[in-house]
Structures are given as structure tokens and as C-alpha cells.
């Protein structure tokens, strides 16, 4: 099951990230996980939240540009070779990873990783075939 990730454009100026964090906190938006990637001049903050719509409205109202992307969260067995198993499954299907990051919470024994593949549908198909655990939003965001 695909998750909706929000990417926010951040100018590289002091206080931009904290101002956004404040606005989201004030609106009661809970952030499940986030990742910042940047090139020194500007950055993209990628975040997952149970309240996508509320987060989007809050971000726009606070004066930030944002866009949404589909990602998938996978249970990666917490042992040597765990990640390799996952990657092998999608590689075989000819899908590549655009980026990945760790999910902040660990509801079970496995590690949770968030993936963006260049072909999401093909990737999901391959993952299911390889019997790799795909996290459901309900389970992921419950605490």
C-alpha cells in the first residue's frame, strides 16, 4: 500500500525549518518521520504524517510550497542481508530506488524503511511476489 509523502521546499535561511515545525505543531499535525535533503542552497523536507490534508493546508497557509509523492514503507528484516533481500526483489523487476530513508518508529521487530521507486506499481508487484512485508498506513501510524 502506497503512502502519501509531502515534500516541502525550504530556502536555506536560518529559521525556515523551525518556523514550519512550529506551524505544524500549532495545528496539531503529528509528524511520523521526516528527512531533509539539500544542495546547500535550498532543501526539500520530506515528511510522513497521518494527517496529510491538514498538513498540506497548514504548510500552504504558513507560506511554503509543497507537493505530494507516493512512497512505500517496507519491513526490512533486522539482520545482516535484510536490506539486500528487499533490493534484490525490485532489482529483478527492473525497478530502481530513487531514495530511501528510515522510518522513525519501530512498531515491531523489523526495521521500517521508506522507499521511493522510479516505478511504484511495478515495485509493489515485485515486493508482493517476493513476500516482503509492506506496511499498511493504519498499522504504521497507530501508537
Amino acid at each position: 500500500m502506497k503512502l502519501t509523502q509531502i515534500s516541502v521546499f525550504l530556502e536555506n535561511r536560518p529559521g525556515r525549518l523551525s518556523a514550519l515545525a512550529h506551524s505544524l505543531a500549532a495545528a496539531g499535525v503529528n509528524l511520523s518521520t521526516l528527512m531533509l535533503s539539500d544542495n546547500g542552497e535550498f532543501g526539500l523536507l520530506r515528511l510522513l504524517t497521518p494527517d496529510v490534508e491538514k498538513a498540506k493546508t497548514t504548510i500552504a497557509a504558513a507560506g511554503y510550497a509543497s507537493t505530494t509523492t507516493e512512497v512505500v514503507a517496507l519491513e526490512v528484516p533486522d539482520r545482516p542481508g535484510g536490506l539486500a533481500t528487499v533490493l534484490a526483489a525490485v532489482e529483478k523487476a527492473g525497478v530502481s530506488v530513487e531514495y530511501m530513508y528510515a522510518f522513525a518508529e519501530r512498531p515491531g521487530t523489523a526495521a521500517i524503511m521508506v522507499f521511493r521507486f522510479d516505478d511504484m506499481d511495478k515495485a509493489l508487484h515485485a515486493l508482493r511476489a517476493a513476500d516482503i512485508g509492506i506496511c499498511q498506513a493504519v498499522k504504521l501510524f497507530e501508537r
Binding site: D38, E41, G43, L44, A65
Partner: protein, 447 residues
């Protein structure tokens, strides 16, 4: 094809607009008679004009043909400043029924005056402007031009009332209320500066209001600042309205010096009241029709403050092709730049409109931008700050890098100059409620 519809959108005949279709021979005759009269008025009543004409050894009686206007001296905005406030008035104050003043970006404002007859002429040319754009009785119009000393608000207001339209004197500012009023009052027409209206399009989007679905606006006249054809396309595509260019400046009369007809191929100048010339801004030599240069006006019927060969600083050309609407009034090419706005960077002349063209070539929609000029170790640098919109945002830093590079490449292609492009957050650049601020020149502020 549009044939001599005499106004236009629905073919109704409006007597005021008959003058727009006057045979050219008659038009030139009217112009010549009025030119003689205004030259005499200026010479007799305005000391500065008399002094300048005496210096050139020219008398009002030397005007025999329209081309003889070239014998007369030029005037500029600084003449208005130097004679502040009433120095160029040709009538006693007891005959002046209205004053307006322009904000003047530097120093003192300039003051312009109108007699009762001037007010009537002004109203007539605005009526002709509005009819040409297809406004009629029954239209409900938000007049977003500033009311007060600026000629835009009250000028359009009088013309709108005179054609029997319903005027909402909303003036500029309070953008969310503007949208609400457009929606709730069933507004069909707009008068605004193009940059402010583009700002309103953004505001409406934020409020979840779709111009095409939720509003009844059909047309607008836009002016008071240079704007490009790309801005027109953006406005029309985003809102589904027709955008007409209205031209004017306070020194000549205010809005209503010219206006576009249904063909929208540049504003027709109301030549029976305003004599138009195009000159080389450096040599001041007259240029042939079709060639680009500085627009110069002589007012033909103004009483309170006649203008003689007034240099507008607007860069344009006279169109040579007759217009399909049948108007005999000549058109000027849409003004997208002013000689004032031009800046020189490392010896190259650059107009903000060129930057705009480059930005629009990169992205389909018009982003907010600001050109910042700085001097680093003796070398002039151009930075172009572009606001990132949700539409242009991509999830990959690499793609955003590419976007930045495409902006810079297109700017370099059009201007021949390297620009450092900075992506900024939405709303981080200054917004104007009136004229757009596109240039910040910091080259003379310290090191």
C-alpha cells in the same frame, strides 16, 4: 473578421466612438487646428514654454503643418518637478476644478490640473476606451485602481459611470475582500494594474476560488505599468477573461490616452486629443512609423496644463498596419518597457521584461521574481530571485537544480548575461498593491 463594428463586442453603435472612425484627412485637419491653438496657449500662458520657444526662435505662427511640431522644444518630467506645483498651468487657479498628483518614485510629486472642459474630455476618452474594450451598461465593474491623488481610480470611475456601468469603487488592497466582492457582487469587469491582478489570481487560488467556475468576470482593462504579452496570456489562461491594454499617464491626462479594441493589437491612441511622435531617445530625432523609440505626446485640447512634446520614457513603435476594427486612430505597440526601467549591466542594456520572457519560457506560469543588482569586487552581478510555486516544485533536489539551471540558461540566452538564479519561498518577495517592483539596484550602496 471584425469590420467596422463601431463597438464592438455586440455591434452596438455608440456615438462617442464615432470619432474613432473619422476619415484620416479630417482627423489630421482637426489635429492641425488644435496644434496651432495649443501652441499659442502654451506660448502665451506658460513662461517655461515661451522661454524655450524663444530660445529656439520659434513662434506659434510657425506651425503650418503637423510636421512642424518638430520645431517645438521637448518637455520632461523634471520640468514638472522644477516648476512644482503649478508652474506649467496655463489657466488661473479659479478655472482649475481638479488636481491630481503622481507619487513620483524620486523626490517631489508632480501635480496636474484640469479645467471643467479637461474633465469632460477625459471622461469622453475613457468612455471611448471602455466601449472599445466591450464594456457597456449592465456591466458590474470592480475598479481596483487607487482612488485619490492617482489619476487611475477617479479617472476610470467617471468613465464607467458615464457609460452606465455599475461601478464598485473598491480601490486596491485587501485582496481576499476583492475576491469575495467579485464573487458576491457578480462582477463582470475589472480595472486594475496587471501585476496586482496577477497577485489576485494567486490569492483566489489559495482561497480555492476558480475564476472560470466561480466568477462571472468577462473582461478587464489593465494598465498604469508596462506589461508583456506573456502576462496577458497568463491572465487570460488562468481566468478565462479578455484582457485589454489601457494606456495613459497623468502628465497627458491620466488613463484613456489610448485603449485596445477587440482586435487587441496594441492601444489605439485618441489622436484627436493627443498628437503622437516616436523619437530616438538619445538623439531625439523623429523615427519613421514602425521603428521603436521613445513615445512623445503633445496634448491637443488640454487647457489647464498643455503638454508640448512631452517625453513619456515609454519605449514603443507606431503600428503601420491599419486595424481590422476599422478605427482610423493609429496604434502603438504594447508598451512592455520604459527607458527608465532599463538598467545597464557590464555595458549591456537590459529590460526587466526580458527577464520575464526568460522565466515564462522556462515555466508555463509566471512566477514572482525580483532582479537584484550588486557589485562584488568591482564587478556588477545580477541575481534573479524566483519564487517557487507548488506547480513548479518537484520531489527531487536534482530536478530543482535543473530548473534553476534552465532559468539561468534562458536568461543568458535572451540577455547575453550570466545571472545567478535563487529559488525563494512563496510570498518571500515583496508584493505590490499598485505597480510591480521588479528591480533592486544595490550597486551604489557601499562596497
Amino acid at each position: 473578421m471584425i469590420h467596422n463594428l463601431w463597438n464592438d463586442a455586440n455591434g452596438t453603435f455608440f456615438p462617442e466612438s464615432a470619432l474613432d472612425f473619422m476619415p484620416v484627412g479630417n482627423l489630421r485637419e482637426v489635429q492641425l487646428q488644435r496644434l496651432k491653438a495649443v501652441t499659442a496657449l502654451a506660448y502665451e500662458r506658460v513662461p517655461l514654454f515661451r522661454q524655450r520657444m524663444d530660445e529656439k526662435g520659434v513662434k506659434p505662427s510657425d506651425i503650418h503643418t503637423l510636421a512642424d511640431v518638430r520645431l517645438l522644444p521637448f518637455s520632461t518630467k523634471s520640468d514638472l518637478r522644477d516648476t512644482y506645483p503649478y508652474g506649467l498651468f496655463a489657466v488661473p487657479m479659479s478655472e482649475v476644478v481638479r488636481l491630481h498628483a503622481s507619487s513620483g518614485t524620486t523626490g517631489k510629486p508632480i501635480v496636474v490640473g484640469y479645467t471643467e472642459q479637461d474633465m469632460e474630455v477625459w471622461k469622453q476618452v475613457i468612455k471611448r476606451s471602455l466601449y472599445a474594450a466591450g464594456f457597456t451598461r449592465g456591466d458590474i465593474v470592480s475598479n481596483m485602481y487607487g482612488y485619490g491623488l492617482f489619476t487611475g481610480g477617479l479617472g476610470l470611475h467617471a468613465g464607467l459611470e458615464a457609460i452606465g456601468a455599475t461601478v464598485i469603487p473598491i480601490s486596491g488592497g485587501n485582496s481576499e475582500r476583492q475576491i469575495m466582492v467579485m464573487k458576491d457582487f457578480g462582477v463582470t469587469g475589472i480595472c486594475a494594474t496587471p501585476s496586482y491582478f496577477i497577485h489576485l489570481i494567486e490569492v483566489a487560488q489559495k482561497m480555492g476560488i476558480d475564476f472560470k467556475r466561480d466568477l462571472k468576470v468577462k473582461r478587464g482593462v489593465f494598465g498604469a505599468e508596462p506589461w508583456t504579452n506573456q502576462m496577458r496570456e497568463y491572465i487570460e489562461n488562468a481566468t478565462g477573461i479578455q484582457a485589454f491594454d489601457i494606456y495613459g499617464l497623468s502628465e497627458i491626462i491620466g488613463p484613456g490616452v489610448g485603449n485596445e479594441c477587440q482586435c487587441r493589437q496594441g492601444p489605439h491612441i485618441f489622436e484627436d486629443h493627443f498628437l503622437v511622435e516616436i523619437v530616438d531617445p538619445q538623439t531625439l530625432e523623429p523615427l519613421p512609423d514602425g521603428q521603436e523609440g521613445e513615445l512623445v505626446f503633445t496634448t491637443l485640447s488640454k487647457q489647464a496644463m498643455p503638454a508640448i512634446r512631452y517625453r513619456t520614457r515609454d519605449i514603443t513603435a507606431l503600428e503601420t498596419e491599419p486595424c481590422a476594427c476599422g478605427r482610423t486612430l493609429r496604434r502603438i505597440r504594447r508598451i512592455s518597457r520604459r527607458s527608465d526601467d532599463m538598467f545597464i549591466l557590464r555595458g549591456v542594456n537590459v529590460f526587466p521584461s526580458q527577464i520575464e520572457t526568460a522565466l515564462l519560457k522556462t515555466e508555463a506560469s509566471l512566477p514572482h521574481y525580483l532582479i537584484v543588482l550588486t557589485r562584488r569586487s568591482g564587478l556588477d552581478q545580477m541575481e534573479v530571485r524566483v519564487e517557487v510555486t507548488a506547480e513548479m516544485l518537484r520531489d527531487r533536489v536534482g530536478e530543482m537544480d535543473q530548473l534553476q539551471k534552465r532559468f539561468a540558461r534562458n536568461i543568458e540566452q535572451i540577455t547575453g548575461l550570466h545571472a545567478e538564479v535563487t529559488l525563494s519561498q512563496p510570498g518571500s518577495l515583496p508584493r505590490s498593491e499598485g505597480k510591480a517592483k521588479r528591480l533592486l539596484d544595490q550597486r551604489n550602496l557601499g562596497a
